[in-house]
Symmetry: D2
Subunit: 102 residues, 4 copies
């Protein structure tokens, strides 16, 4: 856990497009964007978790929908879980999943 880690988010982006193939293509662009931020992240079947500093994470959450729209969907929905503890105390991704994926 680095010093700035005071928050975590988990986001599911749902592009309003017709085919599953298009959904996957657009979601992959969103995930590529998340990877490009350099933050610790974890891709799950229905959401991607990211940990870091609160302001930066909320900017990323906002940008995910812009990425989806730019990738080709006129309308997008997202479901976001946020945890924020300014003085610390947010469980890390490693604390939560590592033991379950050995």
């Amino acid at each position: 856990m680095n010093r700035q880690m005071n928050a975590s988010v988990a986001i599911q982006v749902l592009p309003h497009v017709d085919s599953d193939k298009e959904v996957i293509r657009i979601v992959d662009e969103v995930i590529d964007y998340i990877k490009s931020t350099g933050l610790k992240y974890y891709v799950g079947p229905c959401e991607t978790a990211i940990e870091g500093e609160y302001e930066e994470l909320m900017e990323i959450v906002k940008n995910c929908q812009y990425i989806a729209v730019k990738a080709g969907c006129p309308k997008v929905a997202a479901y976001v879980k946020i945890t924020f503890a300014p003085e610390g105390g947010v469980l890390t991704i490693d604390q939560k999943v590592t033991k379950h994926h050995l």
Copy 2:
């Protein structure tokens, strides 16, 4: 629906505090903040919906957690639903609930 209405959010803020009384007090401060924005909103039992312009809504979503922390909780969680359609096409609160509350 005004011209800038291209998005809607629904947010549930969960302060990590001990008593239901404290939860309610802090959530009421968050709802007061949402009311103060002047945007169209709708308070439900487990989330408050707000409609407006995407950037402004995402700023409000971010601020809700700051309000909760300032109101007295060291840690806060939030669950957020986002709909964004830059060219329009987001169903309004009125379109969705008015007929059910006559």
Copy 3:
């Protein structure tokens, strides 16, 4: 609050259909079903909250998707919030929203 009120749920049903008109038609059928249960409920813009006894509520949550499918969508998604406290202590819909809708 009646004696069996030990849980609350809030459910958003999202039929995979093409038009907003069809979404609204199918969601209205789901809401009609919820109303028909006789339980206390509250329709919001992005979810309907229901309070009652845990087993009964989970049966209703399950049935909502059957209603949506029967109403004409081949695929449906749902987002559900559950609170369960066997010995009591679940905040009621009235405790949570009444003061905000005076």
Copy 4:
């Protein structure tokens, strides 16, 4: 994908207990229960996804809260995402995450 795979769920269980240590202990009991079902599952930082037959999955979703209560919390919340397509067409966990964890 086996024949009965017509649904997927993703569930986050939040026990109302004081310490993170207790939260983790109780959530691990819920995850152990999910593992014991023999269904395909995937543990992420903020939810566990499971795929299978709709009725069975909804029974598991219901049981998760009983497991949490039995493990020692008087009150529990859960956040659940459901996808149901009786005639098939639900994306599998493998289709959604495998390429991201190579």
